[in-house]
């Protein structure tokens, strides 16, 4: 037939109708017969990180989870990430961009991304959002977190048993409930095995600032702390401990390679299984917005392998306590608990409820520092 513009155009339009397929799938609606072609396209999954994956800490653990998910569901998902996104206006831009670029599932991995995620979720009702460590939800936005305080409790047992100066240093970033939970659980545990323990806090006002964390660690060591731990994202505290011969317990990830002689263990977060399960749910169409708060039982919170300095008796004690937490016969926040002024905040025989734990904004006795 004649090769005219009209014939070429007609042929071009015929291709999608015949399902010859445009690669990557098409967003938005298409006539019925094409749904089959679209379902074969991999689900685009986006991750938004607050710090560089090289922080070897919080963000790094999320990245490990993403890689595990990609490996497990290879072919069905196509994941990507944006790192070093500061909380606030920049975050909203990045999340918006991800949603507009065709990502069907977006994980935002920092508390400060809560409001931007909530806003963008309202604009893209077909995209599913999962926000880590937050509390706002929508029909297409769920939240997930882990009971880090259970891991902190176990770490506190180790610290309480192994301190000789009875002063433990704790470098913290911001006084959000998650941080307060960690400090409190740690202190309660340490004082339960060693009532003389004092936990000293130093605030850095930044999740990730190695220089400040180093200075804070130096300060705490000069105050007599012989064990350090932190709720910040870099390896500076562990490295400071290694250099000064002070024991440390790391947070977020296993930092033993930064402190081979002094890092006793770490409270690590393992998101791998959660990411695999949740993404599968989205793929199968069974995803619903919810609030997941897994603890040591689910494996989301784990202690890193022990340094050889940790005695066997302590390891056994920790294992027993972990089992008790896993089958819910023990809670770190069961009474009696006193606050810094000595007032009884949780009576004997009762325990803090989940909503109370989520809103925690006061420190227990034994903590030196204010919110």
């Amino acid at each position: 037939m004649n090769t005219t513009r009209r014939t070429v155009l007609r042929a071009g339009l015929a291709a999608p109708v015949l399902g010859l397929g445009l690669p990557g799938g098409l967003p938005g609606g298409l006539p019925g017969g094409l749904r089959g072609a679209r379902a074969a396209a991999p689900l685009k999954v986006g991750f938004v990180y607050v710090a560089p994956i090289g922080d070897a800490g919080f963000t790094y653990q999320h990245e490990l989870g993403r890689r595990a998910m990609q490996a497990a569901l290879n072919g069905r998902v196509q994941s990507s990430y944006v790192e070093n996104v500061s909380e606030g206006a920049a975050a909203e831009q990045v999340i918006h961009q991800m949603a507009a670029n065709g990502n069907g599932l977006i994980y935002t991995t920092s508390f400060g991304f809560m409001n931007p995620t909530y806003k963008v979720a309202g604009m893209f009702p077909k995209v599913k959002f999962e926000h880590c460590t937050g509390y706002k939800r929508r029909v297409n936005m769920g939240t997930y977190s882990a009971r880090f305080y259970e891991g902190r409790y176990l770490a506190g047992l180790i610290a309480g048993r192994m301190t000789k100066s009875n002063i433990i240093g704790y470098v913290v970033a911001f006084p959000i409930p998650e941080v307060v939970q960690g400090v409190n659980a740690f202190t309660i545990a340490a004082r339960s095995v060693n009532p003389k323990v004092q936990v000293k806090l130093v605030w850095t006002s930044s999740w990730f600032d190695p220089g400040k964390e180093r200075a804070a660690a130096d300060t705490l060591i000069s105050q007599g702390a012989d064990i350090l731990t932190n709720h910040t994202d870099s390896t500076a505290v562990v490295q400071a401990g290694e250099e000064r011969g002070v024991k440390t317990i790391s947070y977020n990830s296993d930092m033993s390679k930064y402190g081979p002689k002094t890092c006793l263990t770490g409270v690590t977060m393992v998101w791998n299984q959660y990411y695999i399960d949740t993404t599968k749910k989205v793929l199968d169409g069974t995803w619903k917005s919810g609030d997941v708060w897994g603890g040591v039982k689910s494996g989301m919170v784990r202690l890193a392998p022990y340094n050889k300095l940790v005695p066997d008796a302590v390891r056994k004690e920790v294992a027993a306590r972990q089992a008790a937490m896993a089958n819910h016969t023990f809670s770190p926040f069961q009474g009696p608990i006193l606050d810094q002024s000595g007032k009884v905040k949780v009576a004997k025989g009762t325990a803090l409820t989940d909503p109370q734990i989520l809103a925690l904004n006061w420190f227990v006795q034994g903590v030196e520092g204010k919110v």
Partner: protein, 308 residues
């Protein structure tokens, strides 16, 4: 006794915090004494930090890392020197461009090295004194670059005031036309000063990434380059005053954490502002006395040299 140990611990932390400020500041002081205002200190420190880290990670030897850092800082300064001394570009603009370039370049090149563990500089050059009394131990915990930052101001002071090359350098900075008329090669002397400044900034950056927090992460210099620049003015271009100023700023940086740990009821955010507030206050105080400033500043600072 415990209080004395505590005081020495604070002093040690102050020295460690002051070392990068002092080293970078001294380099910039020499550069400015020769008449070149190099605002690119932050960029040069970052490039030095990443170069030092990469070289140490690749070779396993911190000494090679330090040399690489100095070379990288000097290379950045050479670019700046070419732009301002040979092409006679505006020094302020070129310096700012150098900072921005250094920040981005270091982040790009160092991206693969984020999160890489490294055994940094040995923290004590007298390791066998580990059984010494605690007071001495605190001093012995200082690494070689901190000792350098304490010795360098005296060396630079001696160089500038007691040697002929130092006199020539100062002459070039006071009045480049007169120096040229006397037969000195102004451009070559300024190049040397600028390269020295770059090498010192690179060294200061390497201290941060190899000794202070043995890691690399983008923007790890966190504004110390700007504080070093302010220190040069604060010290009225005198090396010994500069080292005192560096100690003061180092102390203010440490003080915010010490105040918290001691339980002082001051807002942590206010304490975090202290180093930068101190910088601004000091600069305002100095600038109020414009006569003193004019008396002390190198006469030809920031002016491009046109050979007549």
């Amino acid at each position: 006794m415990h209080d004395l140990v505590f005081a020495f611990a604070i002093f040690g932390a102050t020295l460690r915090a002051a070392a990068p400020l002092g080293l970078a500041g001294l380099g910039e002081l020499v550069s400015e004494r020769s008449g070149v205002l190099n605002l690119g200190v932050e960029g040069m420190m970052l490039v030095g930090a990443v170069a030092g880290f990469m070289a140490t990670a690749a070779s396993g030897s911190p000494a090679i890392g330090l040399l690489a850092a100095m070379a990288a800082g000097a290379a950045m300064a050479a670019v700046f020197g070419f732009l301002t001394l040979s092409l006679m570009a505006n020094q302020v603009a070129a310096g700012l461009a150098l900072t921005i370039f250094g920040t981005g370049f270091s982040a790009l090149v160092g991206a693969r090295f984020e999160g890489v563990p490294l055994k940094g500089l040995a923290t004590s050059i007298f390791p066998h004194l580990a059984n010494a009394p605690p007071l001495l131990q605190e001093l012995m915990r200082l690494d070689p670059l901190v000792w350098l930052s304490l010795a360098a101001p005296f060396a630079i002071h001696w160089f500038l005031t007691r040697t002929r090359p130092g006199l020539v350098l100062r002459a070039v900075g006071e009045s480049h036309d007169v120096a040229y008329a006397l037969g000195y090669s102004v451009i070559r002397i300024r190049y040397c000063a600028v390269l020295f400044g770059g090498a010192m900034s690179g060294l200061a950056g390497a201290y941060l990434s190899l000794a202070y927090t043995p890691m690399w992460t983008q923007d790890m210099v966190a504004g110390r380059g700007w504080i070093a620049l302010a220190l040069v003015v604060f010290s009225t271009w005198k090396p010994l005053w500069l080292s005192l100023g560096a100690l003061l700023f180092g102390f203010v940086t440490i003080a915010q954490f010490q105040a918290e740990a001691l339980g002082l009821q001051v807002s942590p955010q206010l304490l975090a502002m202290l180093p930068y507030l101190a910088t601004i206050v000091v600069l305002v105080l100095i600038s109020r006395d414009s006569v003193r400033l004019k008396l002390n500043a190198p006469g030809a600072l920031g002016k491009p040299f046109h050979a007549a």
